[in-house]
Symmetry: C2
Subunit: 587 residues, 2 copies
């Protein structure tokens, strides 16, 4: 039976929703696919549910092909497993928490690693049971600080999350590869261009992780790639570390007056005018060592200062910093922080002062000091002397100061060398469409998932976790496939195969349209039939363009001459087809 617009639960809207920030959100609401319930929480209307079901069917088919079995967990789960792995705290305010009538703590699960681990622990105990891959398609909840962009970053979303269980590293590699291959097939079936980039495992923990990004200038994620094949998101990019240099022949550090130079630019200008470089070249920001003071708040509640030393021509990339210091929350140090540490002079901070080490291993302040990997032993810098209006020139890493370690939080720039030696990288933007993790043994260890191996020895299981945001992908497809008139669905995920429009009021036209619909359905096509008797052709055409079914058939006055029109939504092309040949024209 066709879906008849005369009775279908659908209202297209003329006005854009006032809160829509992105095209997909605007069009999915206007065309009657979704409807907002609360910030980042949406109801699915019949059209939207059809597209979602098509995406789910593609994902299910490829999961089955990858040998994964479907299960289903509730969204509401006890908090204890999440406490056991530390994620209950680490998730911070992004996790919805509640209590039941007996005051037992519950969570709305943001992902399900813990309970999948416990399920397998519950049922399996031998290496013979492995490998195992299981997945679910399930509604998840995250209390995003700023839900936005419609379905792209909601507080509720449907996700396919798969988990693999192996007892050897090689097994994990194979399970990971099977899911990774399935993802490639899924995105190909969905017509979604993708780049696979190295990613940081972040809050998930684990040893290896890759992201599938759809490259698009409006993507919220930045990634880098080299012509030689390196690709990583900026959070996972690692700096190609220069070689250490010998201290030999380096002049001693010298404290110089640099009044009114609290910024890198004022410092460089002052250095070039008052303290020119001995070799005659100009000082640049890259010759300075900038020291940024951050406060890290751990989920447990402790707050710690850390100073980051990085070349003055680089900014701190906050996303990279969040990953580097996860799960801590990061903020700039406050005046109160500085007041407690008079050894650090704001605007003139450095690891050293004429009185000796201030930061780092021997530092008098006791504050942790981590530096950009470019600050190698033997590199010399202009940096603050912890005295108002003074900087030290030629302060040499490893000779005059020693950091507590290095950290990857400096911004990545086009032209930076890829760490694998494959040449300079370019920056691009993308949207995350999938994420695969080798979790390793973190979860199995925390929750005690072990099996007996071939020798009867208990070994800890190694796991992978593999996610695709179903509703996010739907929004991305909508974001990619539209024009100023509305949506243009790729056939693989379109809510219907054909949209048949009967125009005018002639009974003859409507009867012909019914026959066309019946012919198309007899071919196995899903038909949306605009049979509304009192709606003008203009409104019907407008609705069809907004809804975005890829193929449209217009049955109108031409019926008298035995012809109807086929209209390709994507190209706009209209062609006349004989009434009897419509179904055949669909090949």
């Amino acid at each position: 039976m066709p879906t008849r617009l005369s009775s279908y639960f659908l209202r297209t809207l003329r006005e854009d929703p006032s809160d829509a920030e992105v095209t997909s959100h605007r069009l999915l609401v206007r065309a009657g696919y979704i409807r907002r319930q609360a910030p980042g929480i949406f109801a699915w209307l019949p059209l939207g549910l059809r597209v979602k079901a098509k995406i789910e069917a593609i994902v299910r088919a490829e999961m089955a092909a990858a040998g994964a079995f479907e299960v289903h967990f509730p969204a509401l789960l006890p908090k204890e497993p999440y406490e056991a792995t530390g994620r209950y705290e680490e998730y911070g305010p992004a996790m919805f928490r509640l209590a039941d009538r007996k005051d037992a703590g519950l969570v709305l699960a943001p992902t399900h690693e813990e309970v999948f681990t416990l399920l397998v622990k519950d049922l399996y105990n031998s290496y013979k049971d492995l490998p195992l891959s299981i997945y679910q398609i399930q509604d998840k909840y995250r209390d995003e600080a700023r839900p936005r962009a419609g379905l792209l970053r909601g507080r509720e979303f449907t996700m396919k999350d798969a988990y693999s269980f192996d007892y050897t590293d090689a097994g994990l590699d194979a399970s990971y590869q099977a899911q990774r291959d399935a993802y490639e097939r899924i995105f190909t079936a969905l017509g979604l261009e993708y780049v696979i980039v190295k990613a940081d495992a972040g809050a998930m923990g684990g040893s290896k992780s890759e992201e599938f990004l759809h490259p698009t200038p409006v993507g919220e994620d930045t990634f880098v790639r080299s012509a030689g094949g390196y690709a990583a998101n900026v959070e996972a990019f690692t700096t190609l570390v220069p070689e250490s240099r010998s201290f030999e022949g380096l002049t001693p550090a010298e404290v110089l007056d640099t009044p009114d130079t609290p910024t890198i630019q004022t410092l460089v200008d002052r250095a070039n005018s008052a303290h020119p470089r001995p070799d005659g070249r100009a000082w640049t920001a890259a010759d300075t060592l900038k020291n940024v003071v951050l406060a890290l708040s751990q989920p447990g509640g402790t707050r710690e200062l850390v100073v980051i030393g990085l070349p003055g021509d680089r900014e701190v990339d906050l996303k990279r910093a969040e990953v580097a210091f996860a799960p801590a929350e990061i903020e700039a140090a406050t005046e109160a922080d500085f007041a407690k540490h008079p050894g650090l002079v704001k605007g003139y901070i450095g690891p050293w002062s004429p009185e000796g080490a201030v930061l780092g291993e021997e530092g008098s302040t006791g504050i942790r000091y981590v530096v950009d990997p470019r600050v190698v032993d033997g590199s010399g810098w202009i940096t603050g002397a912890n005295s108002h209006g003074k900087h030290v020139f030629g302060l040499v890493a490893g000779r005059d100061f020693t950091a507590d370690g290095t950290v990857e939080i400096a911004e990545v720039r086009a032209g930076d060398p890829a760490p694998d030696g494959s040449g300079p990288v370019e920056l691009a933007r993308g949207m995350e469409i999938g994420h695969v993790f080798q979790l390793g043994r973190k979860y199995a260890e925390a929750l005690g998932l072990k099996v007996l191996d071939e020798n009867g020895k208990l070994v800890t299981v190694t796991m992978g976790s593999y996610g695709i945001g179903i509703t996010r992908i739907l929004a991305i497809i909508a974001e990619l496939h539209n024009d100023e008139k509305g949506l243009i669905w790729p056939p693989a995920v379109a809510p219907f195969d054909v949209h048949v429009i009967a125009t005018g009021r002639d009974a003859e036209v409507y009867e012909a349209a019914e026959r066309v619909v019946a012919d198309l359905e007899a071919k196995g096509l899903d038909v949306l039939f605009d049979d509304r008797p009192k709606v003008s052709p203009g409104v019907k055409f407008g609705d069809a363009e907004l809804i975005g079914v890829p193929q449209i058939v217009i049955v109108g006055r031409g019926v008298a001459e035995g012809v109807v029109e086929r209209w390709d939504r994507a190209t706009g092309e209209r062609t006349q087809v004989a009434l009897d040949a419509v179904a055949a024209s669909f090949g």
Copy 2:
């Protein structure tokens, strides 16, 4: 492709789960269909998910046939709509409540009347848009005080909830009937015997409601039915009210000493020995008026005493009382309550004392007094005189006391007359498998859902709500279809059509089994294939019996002679079939 037990995610268990109270729970866990996560919260394993999907498909098909369109709401919703209808308070502790990071109140929806109402209000505004029926199949949450019986009363459950919208009462009748008819078709397709009984609308509000009950002695609901066709659950049963009688010729009330008679039995004994009935017949409990003092706590927090007068041979039915006084919580009056009202003498309470009216319209205590409908004007009673050791005989309703109203909370007994005059009722037990409500205008009024009618006048929409518990029905089917060996699924919902078992270790047998499987799949049958090479035939047979696929094919040594065995799980019958004719034997 067949599902191969050698790699399937399935472990059958030898032991019953320790917390299983009912057969369905025990077998669904042991056979690997579900796994407990928390009290009343379960994960669905691959086998369980298959059965669930089959039930959902049947429900979806009949919803489509009834003209209802599928939508999908999140479980997590803002609290405000539920506050607007009063259900936020009325649901009490059974509703999961939480707050987001901005402290906005949220709920896990127990049902979705409010947001469906708002969705339609959001999109529709004319009578031309109606009638409309929309539904979802969705995971719901209720914080049950005592989650029990596995899936039968869980805290998470999958429900099909449909809602109809009309602008006339006749329209609502038609929409209600369409859903009611669909329910009959669904239960028939599922092979579930059902009785449709009048029900009380309870917390849902509304004017008319019916329950679909599956009659079974182990059901948790009691219902009544008469040979003449009356059927109601006990909560909805109404008493056939006797006619009022004339006061003429009735003797005046008389206070008599009845020491040590705080119970109905002691009172009847004492009356018969010390104050025999003038007409010579014996006094019975039915001649006494028992007065029960209850305390009603409203969700808002107020607490009120109420006295119930009912014939001494009837007990208060707590379920009927809960419905009659909903949404109040009911408890027995405490000593403190009695202390506040010295006019009521415990053990000797009545509506009247020698000093005058104590309860009812003129009652000195000011406490509300409601009576069983059998306490009609002109009926005379032995009842407490509010004086220790004294009762009043011949106290006549309407002459000596006047109640504040009647209430249906006395127990219903087999033999009680049906209210429609269709004869005496019998009592039976059943399990609720569906519930349909005519909500009327309660929700539309509370949330402002109005449409313009034919005359351009705004009219409030009238609604219905229709629920089927998908997971509950699955459990009920499991509860009905099993034996001491395990489950026996009806073919319509079985996880697989055929379970093929290869026995022994002969390669020839396994090759033959592969051919059988391929033949069955070529016929469009879903096959579970026990291809485990190292598992004994006994274990394989036991697993097959436990899992409960209705048709089993055993491929074993008979292969040498070209025969296999077909085994009917329900009847236990085994028949030999030629190897080449297995698929054909499936008709």
